[in-house]
């Protein structure tokens, strides 16, 4: 292909014909236009007349130019001009196809695979050996060059992985490359470390072509809990135009069914790479959030799982009798309150009230005895998964709780009295803490030197004591013991919760220990030190598309490995758990920065150029044709044939030819009519309220899709109808949502509507308030409906009888819910003389299809889907809600079947009679 600027020619040698143009010019110039022969009796009078001027023997220059242009247009057209030609030359030799295979390439993975397939097809045609390599999943050893067809069959098996390529692995891999090969790199559009060195290494082996998708990358940073609200940050690598994204908070409803808890809109202003959203979630709901995701973005970067950081545990504090008013620093609860308040929701009060609040943790500070019924309630609560944290104290030490036998709410038996070390009346020094043993939830925590214990309660030696001890003093006496009780646990600190017995409550270690016991949760990500020594089990893993999966049999991960918060093959992104604590490892961390991949100018980047290859041949031929037509007209004009006899006919023929050549001059109305009549089209009336119109449009779209999936009715995309201007007679069915302040149709529109109703159209009126005309109290929308319907030719109505055709035109239905359930449905009243034939389940209601169906269940909202087929508006709760939506769809299908087939199903009752008459 020969290119000239942005235009290439497929058969450039034809352009040599342009050389002939000057010759043609001379020839055409020399030849005057051919004369017309006319029979004319008046010639007798003409004899002897001579022309006054003779210079028009030659063709005028502008006509010549016109012809030259036309011929030049033809020559150039047949030379096959192509705008922005694809100048890729089929290469030779081995081809390496590189896929980034990262989370960012998941956003348009099918397109990438298609592109790769195109490349492989070309390579297969050229017989080039191909290797396909995903940078996140590098092959061992030599490049796996194989025939392109083999790779093509493997393409569907390739999947992106939810992390970025590992620079170290890349560096090792690129050293092993050898031989000459070209590279086709399907980049995910993000810069990553090791990309430029890899590019340099690949260029050393051959040419590199890059495919960069234009699909923008959006990512979501982990949510931050900030002053009662959840702060969400969306980022993008490049400054772009103003965009808004929908962010959904996923979580479980109170019944444990996953659902969308909340949603918000993040708006990128133009030129910004970061956008923020503050979601105000009630604490109850916030604790149920499992993650956030950018709606419609299919990549792990657009998903952020939440862990304990977003949760606020509810901690109930119960202290023993407080008779020492005013001595706040001595209060057994003071230090607990101080330690817990920042990170947990602390509640105090009467025991019964506290249990009603369903706390996560109950802390008993120096409480020896509880009333029997309270103790039973508490034990039941622990067995259901609660954490009971007890602190010792003078009262517990002096009581006989768990003295002779182990109390259910105590992890160990206690010796009477406790012990005092390092006090004024004792011999020993205050004891330090022994390092936490492995297996202890506190394992790995650093113990400050200044933490000493002066007094404690002592555990009675027991076979289970060692197993239940999770922290002990330097001399081996247990400091913290724990036992499992049902699904919950009981933990006893053998010291008091205030600073009387030890300095532990004064130290930071105390907070960390509470943290490890999942009593408190921290808004910051746990640090490496905090994670040291823990083992984490993956609960949920994200794939590159951001979909959660179970972790399966994945081995536990050491906290230290997790602490880097760097997703990779060893630590795939997901939700990890250790005991009751949960840590989310997201693809995008709080400080992850996205940088766009920029490529050196010498690298050919495909996919980004807006200019696609565009053949110009047709346009040039059209131009040449138009010029030739103009030439014909001009020649006719010059030679006088435009004014002679039959000239009108000739001009008419030419104009007709032009009209045939350009049939696009159709009016916009025709486009509307064509769309409406191309197939079955569901339509809704425009109410003037943009949101209601949008819901109606989305609802009909959802219904159309369901109809297409389940029935042989395959409607075209729904249309909005303006009653005043559009022709509604083209539609079989109109959905008319009623708003309270909807304008009344004009007289002309009423005439159209009445025609529509009389000639077999059907309107579904929806007041969208689940409440149509209940006795005397009419809703505003209902009142408006009455006003609108006053001008319509509507027969008497009745609530839908149980044997109406609508209840069985496709599905068997008795309820017609939409987003609401239970509102009545009104249809044309059955004739009073309708009777039920013997042995027939239905009355004989053969004739008359109800021209209107009235209700208020807001069906469109139940049907509404977005462009991706996701439901837009919640219906009901949980499984019952899904069922209600399903029934709503069934109602829609029944309705459209009723519209399209009329009383066909009702006529079915005659089948036995017909068969009998046919002698069957």
């Amino acid at each position: 292909m020969w290119t000239l600027g942005p235009i290439g020619f497929t058969t450039p040698w034809l352009l040599l014909g342009l050389i002939a143009l000057p010759v043609l010019w001379l020839i055409l110039r020399a030849v005057p236009p051919a004369p017309i022969r006319r029979r004319f009796p008046g010639v007798a009078l003409l004899l002897g007349l001579t022309d006054e001027k003779a210079e028009t023997e030659r063709t005028p220059w502008w006509l010549l130019l016109l012809r030259m242009l036309a011929i030049a247009g033809l020559i150039v057209a047949f030379a096959g001009p192509v705008l922005h030609p694809d100048t890729r030359r089929p290469g030779s030799g081995p081809l390496l196809v590189i896929l980034d295979g990262s989370w960012a390439s998941a956003r348009d993975w099918p397109a990438r695979i298609d592109q790769a397939r195109t490349v492989l097809t070309e390579a297969s045609r050229a017989g080039r050996p191909v290797a396909v390599v995903s940078l996140t999943n590098l092959p061992e050893g030599r490049l796996p060059f194989q025939s392109a067809d083999i790779w093509k069959s493997r393409l569907p098996g390739l999947a992106p992985l939810p992390w970025s390529p590992d620079p170290k692995a890349l560096a090792g891999w690129e050293k092993g490359l050898s031989g000459r090969f070209d590279t086709y790199w399907l980049s995910d559009g993000l810069d990553h470390t090791g990309r430029m060195p890899l590019l340099a290494a690949l260029e050393a082996h051959g040419t590199v072509t890059v495919y960069a998708s234009r699909h923008p990358v959006f990512a979501l940073r982990p949510p931050l809990f900030n002053a009662g609200a959840v702060d969400l940050t969306a980022i993008r690598p490049e400054k772009g135009p103003a965009t808004s994204l929908q962010v959904i908070a996923r979580g479980t409803d109170p019944n444990g069914v996953p659902t969308d808890l909340s949603r918000g809109t993040i708006r990128f202003s133009a030129g910004a790479t970061e956008a923020k959203l503050s979601l105000n979630l009630p604490a109850e709901m916030r604790n149920r959030v499992t993650g956030f995701r950018i709606e419609g973005e299919r990549s792990a970067g657009a998903v952020s799982l939440t862990d304990d950081r977003l949760k606020r545990r509810k901690v109930a504090l119960i202290a023993g009798a407080q008779n020492q008013e005013g001595l706040q620093l001595l209060s057994p609860l003071h230090y607990l309150r101080e330690a817990l308040t920042p990170d947990a929701q602390v509640i105090e009060g009467k025991f019964d009230d506290l249990m009603m609040a369903n706390p996560d943790v109950v802390i008993l500070a120096d409480v020896a005895h509880l009333p029997a019924e309270q103790e039973t309630a508490l034990e039941a609560w622990v067995r259901k998964g609660g954490t009971l944290l007890r602190f010792a104290g003078p009262r517990l030490a002096q009581s006989d709780v768990s003295r002779t036998s182990e109390a259910p709410l105590m992890p160990v038996r206690l010796r009477a009295g406790g012990r005092e070390v390092g006090g004024a009346m004792s011999w020993g020094q205050p004891k330090r803490l022994a390092p936490f043993p492995e297996g202890s939830p506190f394992f790995g925590l650093a113990i400050p030197d200044d933490v000493t214990v002066r007094e404690q309660v002592l555990a009675e030696p027991d076979p289970t004591l060692a197993a239940r001890t999770v922290a002990s003093l330097a001399d081996g006496t247990p400091l913290v013991t724990r036992k499992r009780l049902g699904q919950g646990q009981v933990v006893l600190f053998h010291i008091s919760a205030n600073a009387e017995w030890s300095s532990l409550p004064l130290s930071g270690l105390f907070v960390q220990m509470l943290d490890r016991l999942a009593v408190t949760t921290r808004p910051e990500a746990p640090t490496a030190a905090e994670l040291k020594g823990t083992t984490w089990q993956a609960k949920i893993l994200l794939d590159a598309f951001g979909d959660p999966h179970g972790a399966g049999e994945m081995p536990g991960i050491a906290g230290a490995a997790l602490a880097a918060f760097h997703p990779g093959p060893e630590t795939p992104p997901g939700l990890y758990a250790a005991g009751d604590r949960r840590v989310a490892l997201n693809v995008i961390g709080a400080r992850t920065a996205l940088a766009p991949a920029t490529w050196p100018a010498r690298i050919r980047v495909e996919g980004q150029a807006v200019a696609r290859e565009k053949p110009l041949k047709g346009w040039l031929l059209l131009l040449a044709f138009a010029l030739l037509i103009a030439d014909i007209l001009a020649a006719l004009l010059l030679s006088g044939r435009l004014r002679g006899p039959r000239a009108g006919a000739g001009v008419a023929v030419i104009l007709a030819a032009l009209a045939v050549a350009q049939p696009q001059g159709a009016r916009a109305d025709d486009a509307f009519d064509l769309r409406a009549t191309h197939g079955v089209v569901l339509a809704h009336v425009m109410t003037g309220d943009a949101q209601v119109d949008a819901i109606a449009q989305e609802g009909l779209l959802g219904l159309s899709e369901v109809l297409t999936a389940r029935t042989s009715v395959e409607p075209d995309p729904p249309m909005a109808v303006n009653l005043e201007t559009d022709d509604i007679s083209l539609f079989p069915f109109l959905y008319w949502p009623i708003t309270a302040n909807e304008p009344l149709p004009s007289a002309k529109a009423y005439a159209k509507l009445n025609d529509f109703l009389r000639t077999g159209g059907m309107i579904l009126f929806d007041t969208r308030d689940a409440d149509i005309a209940t006795g005397g109290s009419v809703t505003p929308a209902g009142r408006r409906l009455q006003e609108i319907a006053a001008g319509l030719d509507i027969p008497p109505l009745q609530p839908i009888p149980r044997d109406h055709v609508l209840t069985r035109s496709f599905y068997l239905l008795q309820d017609f819910p939409g987003r609401y359930d239970g509102g009545p449905l009104w249809v044309e009243a059955a004739p009073p003389d309708a009777v039920k034939a013997a042995g027939m389940p239905f009355r004989d209601l053969n004739d008359g299809v109800s021209p209107v169906v009235l209700g208020g269940n807001d069906w469109a909202a139940a049907w509404a889907v977005d462009g991706n087929g996701n439901f837009l508006y919640p219906v009901g709760r949980g499984a019952a809600g899904e069922r209600q939506r399903e029934i709503a769809f069934r109602f829609g299908i029944n309705l459209i079947m009723y519209v399209l087939t009329g009383n066909y199903k009702s006529d079915q009752v005659h089948v036995p009679a017909l068969l009998q008459r046919l002698g069957q």
Binding site: G42, V43, A44, L45, D51, K53, T56
Partner: protein, 295 residues
């Protein structure tokens, strides 16, 4: 003629030839009916069939002339006079030249068609009025009677394959003191026309010149390089800009009309210019009145 003269062929040609006759005659009669029908008396006593008046008999009247029935009702004798009815002889000449075969538009009749139609319609009218009508070129001698219309129609429809482009009026059978009607476009040599008219005037024949023109011949709507040919192709005129010729052509046409007018005035004839796009009835009316006026 190279075609075989088999009987069926001959017959089909004969039928094709005969086909125009009845419609032409029918149309001519229809046209004639529209103009006038009725008594064609001379408004004076004379030879005739129609009663004119009773007058008192005076000396010299033949006794047979006395109307006894009228005289018996009074004392005097009355003579019954008849209206003088003298049959005129009208000679028609329809230009057989090829130029008459021209029509500027397929929707318009040719000049020849129009001329034949007018001639035949006039014939019908005149014959109904009791006149004798014939062709000036002698093919049909003047005779009264309605069958004369048939004979004229046949003669007019006959082909004249070797006719010249422009024909001069024939004067073979001009009735002295009769009437002559020349239907032509008068685009040919004016000398022939002049000679014919003067000769007719010389023998006391008066008449009318009906010039039949196509609208294109009046308007000359041509432009560009054009070769104009006469209908047979014998005359040619080539021009590079037909549009330039228009004014001069129209001037010449006006001169030709003026010439005809002068000629007619000198001979006591009347001239009328009829265009084929105007209704034939108007021309027929004029023709009839022109013949009626100065009888």
């Amino acid at each position: 003629m190279s075609e075989p003269a088999t009987a069926p062929h001959l017959r089909s040609r004969a039928e094709a030839l005969a086909a125009p006759l009845p419609p032409l005659l029918a149309e001519a009669e229809r046209l004639a009916r529209a103009v006038m029908l009725g008594a064609h008396g001379r408004r004076r006593a004379g030879m005739g069939d129609e009663f004119w008046q009773y007058r008192p008999a005076h000396a010299g009247d033949d006794a047979r002339a006395i109307d006894w029935r009228r005289s018996a009702r009074s004392d005097a004798h009355f003579v019954r006079e008849k209206e003088w009815q003298a049959a005129q002889t009208v000679a028609l000449w329809v230009d057989p030249g090829r130029s008459m075969a021209f029509s500027g538009d397929p929707g318009r009749p040719t000049k020849a068609d129009r001329a034949r139609l007018l001639a035949l319609a006039l014939t019908v009218l005149l014959i109904r009025g009791g006149e004798r009508v014939g062709l000036a070129d002698g093919r049909v001698r003047p005779r009264p009677g309605l069958s004369q219309a048939d004979r004229l129609a046949e003669a007019l429809a006959a082909d004249t394959p070797d006719a010249p482009d422009y024909a001069a009026p024939a004067t073979t059978l001009l009735p002295p003191h009769g009437r002559a009607v020349f239907l032509s476009d008068f685009l040919g040599d004016p000398a022939g026309i002049e000679a014919a008219v003067l000769r007719a005037a010389g023998q006391g024949t008066r008449g009318v010149l009906l010039q039949i023109l196509d609208p294109q011949e009046e308007a000359f709507p041509f432009d560009g390089r054009t070769i104009f040919e006469s209908m047979s192709g014998a005359l040619r005129h080539e021009t590079l800009r037909a549009g330039d010729l228009r004014t001069r052509y129209l001037q010449r046409l006006a001169e030709r009309k003026a010439l005809l007018n002068d000629l007619a005035r000198a001979a006591g004839w009347q001239v009328f210019c009829h265009h084929t796009d105007s209704p034939a009835a108007s021309a027929l009316l004029w023709l009839y009145q022109a013949l009626e006026r100065r009888r």
